[in-house]
Symmetry: C2
Subunit: 377 residues, 2 copies
């Protein structure tokens, strides 16, 4: 069965101190519903993706909370897998259509992260990691720094190789009016930015962000509505220490392999991709894990400008997590919104001409959960 | 398609200070897998139900965390709907089998609530309610007290009518070695216990509890494995203030009606039920909303001993939330474990003779989410 994307919605991403968690969810949800043309009584289920509302905002039961705000009376679910919550919610929403239970499902991803002090946000995010990693005093920049060090050691590369990703993604963000950062940055600015966790510097890291994104999935085939031809979830150990290698994310490899098989396509068939660049090293590993480049050549691919808008296969035209921002529960949904709008030719000044097939890659934590979607016209 | 319950697992419920959240999830998950006879590589997905781990334990990403502990490498999901998290996880797990994606799915519900001070636990639980209700200083006993007052006003009843439920459930709990409270209590003890939120007294309220429960669902039909013939989720407004009536839970009525239709049975066909007695008034409303008694006669039904073990249709043979305990993410799964074991004739000294059809009723918050399952031999 084909599951179409008949509506998309997204808020501005950034430090949105004048909007609450539920305001953001409402705004994105309403836009997606409006675009779908569905009446609210025809929405059969709501899936909400969020990681931290119960911690930062004392709001659990988010399915019911968002349903009430949107005046929906359908069954409502809240799904969480850290930064992969959005991808996971879309996976389950699609499954509920394939099972025959639902015809039309709204998925809303939302996160409100800037209302708590930054140290609290950083500590809360460590919920995506393991107890041992928290107790060791590690942070997410620290965890990805360990992966970057392992990558450097394996492939004889260095921090100069990391910098291309952020430069590209800020360029893409400069074309996206919803992006948190719309300023251009240079290679030298990345390299000279403040060290966060060696070798990662400030401009290697995605920010803390408020925002929401939404899609309406449907069993009805609508003209011009792209469909999700594959949705795959893969897992790995939560602890980095339990993995054989740190220079790759094996769950990305597995989810991508299964997704290409499900859709019956290959990496070379893709016109664009939104990948999980929570840190620059993550985008480089994604290039390799998803089969876009050979092992150790992810940075070279990015440097070649083939993944820049106008190149052979643009990556993160939204600006990615780095420039568009990373409201963790919203990110996986935002990726699907971006690809769906590209496939419908509605991406404005960052349109990938003739885009027909796109991929999204959403990572939870350091890769304990990975969700890959393939979306086609 | 028939989805069978081929394995069940449950921990002791109570104040388990020597066990962590992940210890409990492991213990219940391992027992369910052992009972199913499945090898771990044949588990296609894991669903974890939990409400508060990110708040009380800084652990999000619970799908991956529990998967790692159980040495499962399948896709893993975390689902939440406050106290209905367990029911919701079983609903989605079953859906993922019906869609054809999975053959065998493990569902683990878990909550660790006694490691934080009680006022923090009470405040955290208010995440199941709305912001307005939190800001009004309401607690869950307060919210259900409002419902009890409305019920008294509508049906000319009083606090004496509430007391039968807890007496019965403690009797059932006395037969359950996993129950948090295994002591018998009397009608007079309930009435003379400390006032919590008028008219609710201490012995009208379910406790704060640690515990886990697990089931293995499967598309394979196994001899003696009961199957889930209906799974329905219904929602209502999160705010009590937005409801027309407070003496009933309309989402319970809707979920039950849809479940009876899906299973093709009526309330009178049931041999037993596990209902959501977070407060005594909740069990009374459940009797009416689920169609076990006429409106206003729920207390009379309980008083008649028809819902006591040995009666026509025992309710809460596990001891219910009141005596067995209420680890919120585990409760909806525990209900299904209890009914499945009853249907397999494995409930020991609290066996309902000849039980063939059972119902579970799991409520999130004050009824913004309700999940009803029907389970048959």
């Amino acid at each position: 069965m084909k599951v179409s994307i008949i509506g998309t919605g997204i808020t501005r991403f950034g430090e949105l101190w004048d909007k609450s968690l539920l305001d953001l969810a409402f705004e994105a949800g309403e836009e997606a519903l409006r675009e779908s043309g569905l009446k609210k009584e025809h929405v059969d289920a709501l899936f909400v993706a969020n990681m931290l509302a119960i911690k930062f905002d004392t709001q659990a039961h988010l399915g019911a909370a968002v349903a009430q705000n949107l005046k929906l009376s359908c069954p409502a679910y809240h799904v969480e897998a850290a930064c992969a919550s959005g991808g996971l919610a879309i996976n389950l929403a699609r499954e509920s259509i394939i099972s025959g239970r639902n015809k039309n499902v709204l998925v809303v991803g939302v996160e409100k992260m800037t209302d708590v002090p930054t140290p609290d946000a950083v500590a809360g995010l460590m919920g995506a990691a393991s107890e041992e990693e928290r107790d060791s005093g590690l942070t997410f920049p620290g965890l990805y720094a360990l992966m970057a060090k392992a990558y450097f050691s394996k492939f004889k590369s260095n921090e100069r190789d990391l910098a291309y990703s952020s430069v590209k993604n800020h360029f893409h963000g400069s074309l996206n009016k919803n992006a948190q950062f719309q300023n251009l940055i240079t290679f030298d600015q990345v390299l000279s930015s403040t060290k966060i966790a060696d070798p990662l510097k400030l401009l290697d890291c995605s920010p803390i962000t408020d925002g929401a994104a939404a899609v309406v999935l449907s069993s009805q085939l609508t003209k011009n509505a792209p469909f999700i031809s594959a949705s795959q979830v893969a897992t790995d150990s939560l602890n980095l220490a339990q993995r054989d290698t740190l220079f790759e994310i094996k769950a990305s490899q597995k989810a991508a392999k299964n997704a290409f098989a499900e859709a019956g396509i290959e990496a070379k068939d893709l016109d664009l991709a939104e990948v999980h660049d929570c840190f620059s090293i993550a985008e480089i590993m994604a290039m390799e894990d998803l089969g876009f480049s050979q092992k150790g050549e992810g940075a070279k691919l990015i440097k070649s400008t083939q993944t820049t808008l106008g190149g052979k296969m643009p990556v993160n035209t939204s600006g990615g997590l780095k420039a568009c921002g990373h409201p963790v529960g919203a990110t996986g949904v935002k990726q699907v919104v971006e690809v769906a709008r590209q496939l419908r030719g509605r991406a404005g000044n960052r349109q990938v001409e003739g885009a027909k097939i796109g991929l999204t890659h959403n990572v939870g934590g350091t890769g304990a959960t990975v969700v890959v979607h393939i979306i086609q016209n």
